[in-house]
Amino acid sequence: MIEARLYLLQRGSAMVLGPLVIIHLGLILYAIQGGLSAAEILERTRGSIAWAVFYGAFVLAAAVHAPIGLRNLAREWLAWRGRSLDYATLGFGLILLVLGLRAVWAVVGVAP
């Protein structure tokens, strides 16, 4: 049953990531064209609940999606099986989550 769950989680997180990635890429193009500096970007994102929710959801979906895909790759290409692979998958997801949320905090957190 865990396979069906992981399948659902991976497809579900991909559906969340789809529109978020498009908005994220559009945002990068917009920010570059407008010539915004890092300071100007931070000025707009700090304290913004909307950006915190947007990138928080992005990080969460990526932290779910990527480890499941890597787990499949590890099984097929490295013949890695068993509990150790499950723990490695979970560990990789947690690393993505912590690093991602730290980055989100750096962008939206209000400087003391």
Binding site: M1, E3, A4
Partner: protein, 240 residues
Amino acid sequence: MNDGTLTVEIWRGKDEGRFETYRVPHRESQTILDVVTWVQRNAEPALAYRFACRVGMCGSCAMTVNGKPRWTCRTHVSKVVSSGVVRIEPLRSLPRIKDLVADLTPFFEKWRTARGRFEPSATRADPMAPISPESPKRKAADAGIECINCAVCYSACDVVAWNPDYVGPAALNRAWTLVNDERDNDRAGLLRAVSEAGGCHACHTHGSCVEHCPVGLNPTEGIAGLKRMTLSALLKGALS
């Protein structure tokens, strides 16, 4: 081939072995199985290969011909010959026994893993179940039941080659026909079986099984159906 002969390279041995080359007379409407039989009768009496019906029903003569898995009794030489050369070896992803004979034990064991057997819901004393041939479920089952168990799809599948746990297209096609059989008594058990590691969710939808199936079945479609059914069962809490 210009002199009326074919150059036929045939695998001799088990895992360790070599290709032996034979010159075989080329005839009209000649099949690959005809070629192998000619070699066995005229050049290499010890050559091991498997066949039974010779008319595309029994599924026992599948081999790899010029790199692709095929049913050799219905494969014409003229359709697969490349520069006058035909290279014949056993099916891939299966243990080898000798020469062109592959061991199909893992193939059929995986059918059992995917619960590819009918679980009756009635006894012989009960009246026959009225199943309309027009019902969508029966049509879905009918689309997959002509499988001849030749293992061509299994051998064609890259996921089978990469992942030894993967039960393969034929076993899942069988499961798909059973899950759509209204007389089957263990739908939940079947959906649990195909949701294990190596079940339907391991399929990458490459479609090699569809491309190579000699009887024109579409196991990929059935596997996609199993994915949908298992997800639906999961969301309803019926998979635990």
